[in-house]
């Protein structure tokens, strides 16, 4: 079993997707889908239990030849970078499935469950793949189901949002494909063998020029996904128009595929370029933090507000990643989980509100503390987690990121703190307008409070918010060895950069015409 644990994890949602096609009626579909969304979660927890915390390398590796002609392997593995994202994915999919069964999805339930489970397989595969070909397949497989989720079950301008989402992402990934293929070719000439395997490609020797272009190719794909300002414009549309479950998965997991991509691919493959590009990415991250917060502040639509808050929060994650030190990267990883939990929960809460009132305009609400006390209480805890109240999970991540950044680039840390303040401002202000005060609209009176199903969905989130806030040790301990490996590569590259150039630039210039000739 353990030898095939990761394969079982990736393909169990696909099996579930086939099984939801079986039942005759919608109730059966939902029951089957909820059940099958729990299978990957169970496997994920099993993986967590078996995971050896102090090992730095990939664990549970499965490696089978697939297309030997091109050095392509079916290769899966998990380490401290991916472990918790895998858990987060399985948890969020299971919860959003259970939530959606409660009436959020009114039509075509069978297709909905099918797409959601296929999406989960794509996400898990992309997190676990150690072969660039396999990774790219899963990376693209995610797009289509999400496109359908937004386009079929979305709200408002759903087709526009769906197209914008898929075209933005495909544009990025198309360039990444070129970069992957070029990288494999360049690695072939330096290593002497054709391979798409990530561990092999880490060893490729590239010229600085090649590395720069290749880094750019990967970075654009991941930057669109994160999204880094100014490539974020698809996000507010997609997040706002998507159905609740779609928003949860988009914000909770899919955005992390971008930051995960930086940690797994862009930075370790091209550490020297990553070091060189640090000021650029830190600047973009800070802009994202402040811009996202400012725009979130003026949103009249609660869901859009949450969407823009993602731009701001992911800015923090990027800041931590490009601090390129232990605190920063671990903080970023931690913040990725926090954002998945808190923003996922916020989208669920907004979805619950929308179900009751069919509007998300902040001005339509007020005094919900009186009519929906349980909802308002849960909302408060999640909101406080999102703004980083000490004792809750958000604080740990933000603190580590700011600490890591502070030692690297003090200005960035100071400006990012401004983002924290702004974040508290827009969240608290929104909360005040929605929940406090007297009930101003008759429609808000006599609303049904959270149902048992909704509570069931929110309780795991609340538990995680508190546990991860008070007791981050078990999480950070498992991340650390892998983060150290990553930073070891960065340190080595930094040493190389610091050394005086052995071959003066003359030799580069001498090479250029030669290479030009070969190309002709």
């Amino acid at each position: 079993m353990e030898g095939y644990l990761l394969t079982a994890l990736v393909f169990s949602p696909l099996v579930g997707a086939l099984f939801v096609l079986v039942p005759e009626d919608e109730r059966g579909v939902w029951r089957a889908a909820s059940l099958f969304s729990l299978v990957p979660l169970g496997l994920g927890i099993y993986l967590f239990v078996l995971f050896r915390p102090h090992e730095a390398g990939y664990q549970f590796v499965e490696r089978y030849p697939w297309i030997t002609r091109f050095g392509i392997y079916y290769e899966l593995g998990v380490d401290g970078l991916s472990l918790f994202l895998v858990l987060l994915t399985t948890l969020l999919v299971a919860l959003s499935m259970i939530y959606s069964a409660g009436g959020d999805i009114e039509q075509r339930a069978r297709e909905f469950c099918f797409y959601l489970l296929v999406l989960e397989a794509g996400l898990l595969g992309a997190l676990l793949a150690l072969d660039l070909f396999l990774f790219y397949i899963f990376w693209e497989v995610m797009l289509v189901p999400m496109y359908f989720l937004i386009g079929i079950w979305g709200h408002g301008r759903k087709l526009y949002a769906a197209f914008k989402f898929i075209l933005f992402t495909m544009l990025g990934s198309a360039l990444m494909l070129v970069a992957i293929l070029y990288l494999v070719g360049a690695a072939q000439s330096s290593l002497g063998r054709l391979s798409f395997e990530l561990p092999v490609l880490y060893g490729a020797r590239l010229t600085p020029g090649q590395a720069r272009w290749l880094f750019a190719g990967f970075a654009v794909a991941f930057a669109v996904k994160v999204p880094i300002w100014p490539l974020h414009t698809w996000l507010p549309d997609a997040h706002t128009e998507a159905p609740t479950a779609g928003s949860v998965i988009l914000a909770g997991v899919m955005l992390k595929m971008g930051t995960y991509g930086f940690l797994r691919f862009a930075i370790p493959l091209f550490p020297r370029v990553a070091i060189e590009a640090t000021p650029l990415f830190m600047a973009l991250a800070v802009i994202g933090i402040i811009y996202g917060a400012l725009v979130a502040m003026v949103q009249p639509d609660l869901k859009r507000l949450v969407a823009y808050s993602s731009v701001s929060h992911l800015g923090f994650v990027m800041l931590g990643i490009f601090a390129l030190d232990v605190q920063g990267v671990e903080g970023a990883l931690y913040q990725m989980l926090n954002h998945g939990i808190s923003t996922g929960s916020l989208f669920l809460l907004v979805g619950m509100l929308y179900l009751r009132r069919h509007t998300r305009e902040i001005s339509e609400f007020g005094g919900l503390w009186q009519s929906l006390p349980r909802w308002a209480a849960v909302f408060m805890v999640i909101m406080l987690s999102s703004i980083g109240l000490p004792g809750l999970n958000g604080f740990v991540g933000e603190f580590l990121i700011l600490l890591g950044t502070f030692f690297k680039l003090r200005v960035a840390a100071v400006l990012a703190v401004l983002g924290v303040v702004l974040g508290a401002l827009y969240m608290l202000w929104a909360y005040e307008r929605v929940s406090f005060g007297a009930i101003t609209r008759e429609a808000n009176r006599g609303l049904a409070d959270l149902s048992p199903r909704e509570l069931l969905v929110m309780v795991p989130m609340l538990v995680l918010v508190v546990v991860m806030g008070l007791y981050p040790g078990p999480f950070l301990r498992r991340m650390e060895p892998s983060v150290e490996v990553l930073l070891g590569r960065v340190r080595a590259a930094r040493l190389e950069l610091a050394q005086p150039v052995v071959k003066p630039q003359l030799s580069l210039a001498a090479q250029a015409p030669l290479r030009g000739k070969q190309v002709r």
Partner: protein
């Protein structure tokens, strides 16, 4: 006659046995069709499909040999086997798709199937020919049959227009091809490809003449593969032609043309590669970009698929521009996946047509997902493969092509190509928007009621998935086909082109 000569003659006739089977079947269908009524049309169709399947047997039997027959004009190698098999498959699929269509549209079955068989004959000849005149002969056999097929619904004005346009432009381009062949003959003194290669390697005094000839032949092929700026006929011809024939044109004609194109240019004009790859580079970029951009604006599914076929020709030309062994293998593999996927897509369009009424505007597809879930899922999968979504055949084909092109240093052309793929996603997905996200549209007959169509769509879907998920055997087959063709002109290194 000495035993040796006798053996050579026997070998030669065995080599063309598949062609003979197809030709005889075509004549038989034509004769039987003259007497048969409309109700026997389906029987003629099944007979044609069976003949195509039967022709595949001697093709397979000649596998493993690598020789020239008929005094060095016909190549018997894995390359011709590869293409002949795919062409036979594409033709048989076309027949299967046509069965109900021919009956419902009231087309004359005998002539229809006979022309399909004649076209298949010409295509196979193009794949096997190792002589410029024989290539021309195959091309004409194919083209004349396809011209007639394009205008087969002669009571429809647009079908007649399509045929006329296709015929006039086609005849014009064939003139280019023939003139080019004549100039090459003038410069090199031979029409057979093997001696031509040797002559080029030795050098010629008439380089200008030769280059003019090569350029004109290039134009001839560019017309047949619908490369920009020689693509003007494509959308009208596809739209006017009976739908199964449009699929046949998009797949069969392209297969045969690329088979000959690659054999002539890649394998034998390698010595001149620096000149023609530069031209192909530009043509490839133009073809992809124009095909995809114009496809964006199409409202008719058939026209959209026509422009998409142009775009795919552009991707294939990227491989031609790369001009390496690797790229040639990629072209072979890509064409295989393309054959399955595109025939499947046209089969779905055929399935939408009912009782003589064509439903081919994208708006007609609205709400199809609810009415015909199976057909819609098939269409979605095929269109995603055409987009290049992993893990389907279209994706692996593109990956293989682009990898080969990158290895040849064509970075910018590959960037243009992948950006084009993104553009193409828009119009392919627009179809899926209609199918799954909009209401309305027209009713369709269930596929189960049309078994031949069901088989065709099923085969297309299965092929698209299998070729994509387990590409290794097909990649190996493409490579073996290429090596076999190269070993024909031994002695020589495996390098296609002196790069």
């Amino acid at each position: 006659m000495s035993p040796g000569v006798l053996a050579a003659v026997q070998f030669s006739w065995l080599a063309v046995l598949p062609l003979g089977i197809v030709a005889l079947a075509a004549v038989a269908v034509l004769l039987a069709g003259a007497r048969a009524g409309q109700d026997q049309g389906e029987a003629l169709g099944w007979f044609s499909a069976a003949a195509l399947a039967a022709a595949a047997l001697p093709v397979l039997a000649s596998l493993g040999r690598s020789r020239l027959a008929f005094d060095g004009t016909v190549a018997v190698d894995a390359y011709s086997v590869y293409f002949e098999l795919v062409i036979l498959f594409a033709s048989a699929m076309t027949v299967l798709i046509s069965l109900r269509y021919v009956a419902e549209m009231g087309l004359a079955p005998g002539e229809y199937y006979a022309l399909v068989l004649f076209a298949a004959l010409g295509m196979m000849l193009m794949a096997a020919a190792d002589d410029l005149i024989l290539i021309f002969l195959g091309l004409e056999t194919m083209s004349l049959a396809v011209y007639a097929l394009a205008g087969f619904a002669r009571r429809q004005a647009r079908s007649a227009e399509a045929a006329l346009k296709y015929f006039l432009l086609g005849a014009f381009s064939t003139g280019f091809l023939l003139y080019g062949i004549a100039l090459i003959y003038g410069a090199a003194g031979t029409l057979k490809l093997e001696p031509l290669r040797a002559a080029l390697a030795a050098g010629t005094d008439h380089r200008t003449l030769l280059l003019c000839g090569v350029g004109l032949v290039l134009i001839g092929f560019a017309f047949k593969v619908a490369a920009v700026p020689f693509h003007m006929w494509t959308p009208d011809a596809y739209e006017g032609a009976p739908t199964p024939i449009a699929g046949f044109m998009a797949v069969g004609v392209k297969l045969a043309s690329f088979a000959a194109f690659l054999r002539v240019f890649g394998l034998h004009l390698g010595a001149l590669a620096p000149t023609w790859t530069a031209v192909v580079w530009v043509v490839a970029a133009l073809t992809m970009t124009a095909g995809n951009l114009i496809a964006l604006a199409q409202q008719s599914l058939k026209r959209m698929l026509a422009y998409s076929a142009i775009a795919h020709a552009g991707y294939l030309l990227v491989g031609m521009a790369a001009g390496s062994n690797e790229a040639a293998g990629a072209i072979l593999y890509y064409l295989l996946g393309y054959a399955f996927t595109n025939l499947g897509a046209f089969a779905v369009v055929v399935a939408l047509e009912r009782r003589g009424v064509e439903h081919e505007s994208i708006a007609d597809l609205r709400g199809l997902g609810a009415r015909a879930p199976g057909l819609s899922a098939a269409l979605a999968l095929l269109l995603l493969s055409l987009t290049g979504m992993p893990p389907l055949a279209g994706f692996v084909g593109k990956l293989y092509l682009f990898k080969a092109a990158l290895d040849s240093g064509l970075v910018w052309l590959v960037v243009i190509a992948v950006l084009n793929s993104v553009v193409s996603a828009y119009y392919y997905l627009r179809v899926l928007v209609a199918v799954y996200m909009q209401e309305g549209g027209v009713a369709v007959a269930p596929l189960a009621a049309r078994p031949a169509l069901l088989v065709a769509v099923g085969a297309a879907v299965l092929g698209t998935v299998l070729i994509g998920v387990f590409p290794a055997p097909y990649v190996a087959a493409a490579g073996a086909a290429l090596r076999s063709a190269l070993s024909l002109s031994s002695p020589g290194p495996l390098a296609l082109i002196a790069r």
